[in-house]
Symmetry: C2
Subunit: 312 residues, 2 copies
């Protein structure tokens, strides 16, 4: 019989990586879009996926991001326990809002709490990166970092892993448009050039610096001006239907910034205040309905907590 | 007879551009290295260089950075007055610590005050950029910005001109080593590649972001970790004699960061506290004396004011 110490459930949030100026570096955490995951402590060692609802993902623990991240953590902790994982997957894989990162982040935060392992958030990110390695082919940190820290994050370096938690205004809302088309992450990476013009790189790092400054000073004009992408968007936006039209709608209706979420096809519109966000959402909805491309729209405030414990 | 309203003298500081991670974007202002400039209001229109001591620079007002910047400002202000400029030049041209920027910045700040023109600091930077255009061939802002704002600055964009003044700890000191060799700015630019690897650019903008964050949070470890240059230093350091040896001496003796000042040949060592800075200065002095290359060493705290009025 499980007692209250033997089981924990978490909400594992979706995330937006890059935020236009900060390719592979910046990210933010969403609040109302995410998976539900339950972890049960077992005397039998090993990690098992005992339930998987929502989307068709590997149940083999060596191939699922959540179980791989937990195995990495249990191995580091020399734990005598095992874990059964139940996943209710709400974030569609391949949507560009950190589906695998949610699984990895939710798993390590949940099991860290359940087994009282006391790993730091940065250590948890490192375990979750192993989940990303299985799911995406590379131990990227720009989605797991905001999923674990909440708010805005900056991955300062991956080797050694250094992640900064940035100040996060509480009145920011994000509209996510997810056109239901498939872009393979590999294709989305392959379309990028290996080298970029130095003059564009200079503009990009000026914007990363001013983006960070804007968060510390609550300067929404500067924040808005900094969400610009000279490097990646010119390539990847071609893969996203009606990108320029949606961008114009978002900005004309008051969004502070608009861009590709991660490697797409989702896009994000960051807005000050829920009212503006609703208007942006509604205008995008009106436009996209006419395209006959199936889509989903989400509206979320920014989640400053990251993965949340639902019950234990 | 000049009354107190007809004449003003200023201290025009040297500056360090780039600060390793922020090529063409970041800069800082020095305190004890700089030129002295005097401006005299005249009824005769036009701008004249009436005195020039220190180094051999153009006295033709159309070719001197200081006068060109002032002419730009007077033209914008539709001023009925003229200006005589006296310059005591202490910053050697071509040293990499913003010699022409000091002339341009000192001139626009001095004359703005003398004629009570009330231009904003950002407007003054734009005028000073015209001085830079004459002296360097390009209207660069990364030296004139810290010379005018003081402290650490970030040039967010040049078109439109947007400059951020960043928080500046008051316990930082800078050691400048100026080996007396000539590097032409044109050569120093030409050695840089037009394109850089995207993966290096990512590391660089992560560092710009963390550098800015470190200044807002007074995190000296992060500040130190962020002063790294994956893009420019590998090329330009080859032009600077004993670069790697000096870098090792600076960091081993406690400098938080070390790099090329602007386009060189000067290097900077940023230190916490004057005691550490003196030790770094002394160790570099001991080493460089053995090289038989003539050199100058300066030690300065960071100047949070920028151009200073000496008398009026």
């Amino acid at each position: 019989m499980p007692n209250k110490k033997n089981k924990i459930s978490v909400f594992a949030p979706a995330t937006v990586a890059n935020i236009s100026c900060g390719f592979d570096v910046l990210g933010l955490c969403l609040d109302t879009i995410g998976d539900e995951m339950t972890f049960i402590k077992t005397d039998q060692k090993g990690v098992r996926i005992t339930k998987l609802e929502g989307f068709d993902l590997p149940k083999d623990p060596n191939k699922n991001a959540a179980s791989v991240a937990v195995m990495e953590m249990l191995s580091k902790a020399n734990s005598n326990f095992g874990i059964d994982i139940q996943i209710k997957k709400n974030i569609k894989p391949g949507s560009g809002i950190g589906s695998s990162a949610a699984s990895s982040a939710g798993a390590v935060v949940g099991v860290n709490k359940l087994l009282e392992l006391n790993f730091s958030k940065t250590e948890l990110i490192a375990f979750a990166q192993e989940g990303e390695r299985i799911a995406c082919g590379s131990p990227i940190a720009d989605n797991v970092a905001p999923a674990i820290f909440g708010g805005f994050t900056l991955v300062k370096s991956t080797n050694p892993l250094q992640v900064l938690s940035l100040p996060t205004p509480t009145d920011l809302y994000v509209v996510i448009l997810h056109p239901q088309i498939e872009i393979k992450t590999a294709d989305s990476r392959a379309i990028l050039p290996e080298k970029i013009p130095l003059k564009d790189a200079v503009k990009q790092w000026a914007n990363v610096g001013s983006f960070v400054s804007a968060l510390y000073t609550n300067d929404y004009n500067l924040f808005s001006d900094s969400i610009t992408d000279f490097v990646v968007e010119p390539y990847r936006s071609k893969l996203i239907p009606f990108f320029n039209e949606i961008k114009a709608i978002a900005l004309q209706n008051g969004a502070l910034g608009f861009g590709i979420s991660g490697s797409g096809p989702s896009t994000f519109s960051i807005c000050k205040g829920e009212k503006t966000a609703r208007e942006v959402r509604n205008q995008i909805d009106l436009f996209f309905k006419k395209t006959n491309i199936p889509f989903e729209l989400h509206l979320s405030k920014i989640n400053t907590e990251g993965v949340k414990i639902i019950s234990e």
